[in-house]
Amino acid sequence: MKIKLALSSMAAGIVFSIAAPASAQQLTLPEQELETIEQEGDGTTVTVTAESWQDLGIAIASFATNEDVPTPANAQGTRALGHELSRIVYNDLRNNGLFRPVGPDSLPRPDYSQVSDPAWNIWRGRSAEMLVQGYVRPNSDGRLTVGCYLYDVVLEEQLVREGWIVQPAEWRRAAHKCADLVYSRLSGESPFFDSRIAYIAETGPKDNRTKRLAIMDSDGANHRFITNGRSTALTPRYSPDYSKIAYLSYLDGNPRIYVYDVDSGQQTLVTQSSNPTFAPRWSPDGRYILYSMAVSGNTDIYRVPASGGTPVRLTNTPGIDVGGSYSPDGRYIVFESDRSGSQQIYVMEADGSNQRRITFFGGRAGTPEWSPRGDQIAFTHIVGDFRIAVMDTNGRNMRHLTDAWHDEAPTWAPNGRIVQFFRTQRGSGETSIWQVDLTGENERRLNTPVGASDPAWGPVLP
């Protein structure tokens, strides 16, 4: 479906409001038709002007403002805020190895009037085929309207634009939405920047490590410690709606899964049992939690309604059955078991039936996580060293994505295009969070205030 529409003013359509903190209201504006871009029904962009979208040069100019006024989002006012917004867009793309972005600090600064009417002669000949411009506009109610425009410099045409109204405290989300818009439009992939990560912050010596539950935005900003570190916290998982975090804590001296409510700060045990519980995982619809529980030393996988209720035991073997990750449609669960003698990966139906091993390529294989796209399973492959790998859901076409001494516990970006994991240094045991794309070529360390492990990505925010 293509919509042709002439737009005279940028203000025309960009009036959306973001009321609830959790949801950014978004305005999808109709766009001008373009010869070289074909938008198909499934959202896949087939043709772009560069040979591949990774090669596209993108100039990201400082966002303009209609009036430079004070805002809680930036001590220096809305003009400085506009510059920061564009820097976030630039850093999102650059840090993830996407495109060939050029940032606002080395580019001319467009006027507010030029945001919807680029000065093409300035942008031509800068080896950037694409141009991102935007603006920030203060509203009378204290909120901010942020507009984001993507242009094809060669064609001198607008490709897409969107606007969002955000609370000042959530201003960074508008920039992530803009980065998502640019990334999605040019790559054909689903967005992922406007999302959060739960992980474990580590400090202290190896034999007396303090481990705290912490959360942050996908770019490491808005970092917050949730637990105080007096009891060891491990393996968090965000609920699909971000309202809760299931994680393991030694709060009462024993390893137990707690479900922490982000808004209220209250937490409850995942199940009333004196047995140790660990490895929590949410179902894609958020209605169930999988957990592993050891009874008399034997660990099996259970499922319990997230709202509480009677647990159902899904595995029943003398071996260690642990973990578990749902397929996106909720029909299958991939998990690990050493029932064959060593850690290997198995798939079962969501009710526990039809359990079958899928890994037969040598070494040990653990911590499987089903891609949100459904087509791949990421896992830890142990052959001497610990490496992050992906495979088809039938266990075929295994590929290593990393090669270090100890990489462990992959989880997926919301769009299934990037795998996040943690890396442990030999000797010191220092940990850090890393991300790698599915080619294995673009690997980067995430900035965290202290050591970091057990990362888990949540979905794209509404």
Partner: protein
């Protein structure tokens, strides 16, 4: 005497494989029923309780008397009790039977060369293997609790085979 055969095999494998501390042995060894001493009426004096030393039946005392036998070790990904472990557990059981009021936590641990969730399960398995052996020697089950620390509390901090061997362990700790 199948037991002797196993121990012999153990020795030869140990000599061959330097990196593998102990070969696997048969699982729950037939326990030798130790005659239970008089329950708790009159706690007999400890083997050599020095007047200034730790109180008999306390963790400090237990640790002193055990002199290292409060810890047993495992091979990679294994949780079976071998002859060396069995000897240590017999010492623990004797102590626990002598001090009938003492209760203990058995901590199960794993080395860093495993995945976190699996190591938690493995530590639980090891702690339970030790507990089951103590129970088989006559220690009442309700005096023993288990906890797995997975790879979270290493005793040795190196990243080498000897450190990992020291960390694959089950430690019995009296609850004071």
């Amino acid at each position: 005497m199948p037991r002797k055969v196993v121990i012999l095999a153990a020795t030869s494998v140990l000599a061959l494989a330097a990196c593998s501390k102990k070969p696997p042995e048969e699982l729950p060894p037939a326990p030798v029923q130790t005659p239970a001493p008089a329950p708790t009426a009159a706690p007999a004096p400890a083997p050599t309780p020095t007047p200034t030393g730790p109180v008999a039946g306390s963790q400090a005392h237990f640790s002193q008397v055990m002199a290292g036998r409060d810890v047993i070790f495992f091979d990679t990904d294994k949780f079976d009790i071998d002859s060396e472990d069995a000897a240590a557990l017999r010492s623990q059981a004797e102590y626990l039977l002598q001090y009938g009021r003492a209760t203990a936590t058995i901590e199960g641990h794993a080395d860093e060369r495993g995945t976190r969730d699996y190591n938690l399960a493995l530590g639980e398995r090891r702690a339970n293997a030790a507990k089951n052996y103590l129970v088989s020697l006559g220690v009442s089950e309700n005096r023993l609790r288990t906890v797995s620390y997975g790879e979270e509390r290493p005793a040795a901090t190196g990243s080498n085979e000897s450190a990992w061997a020291r960390n694959r362990r089950a430690v019995t700790v009296l609850i004071d």
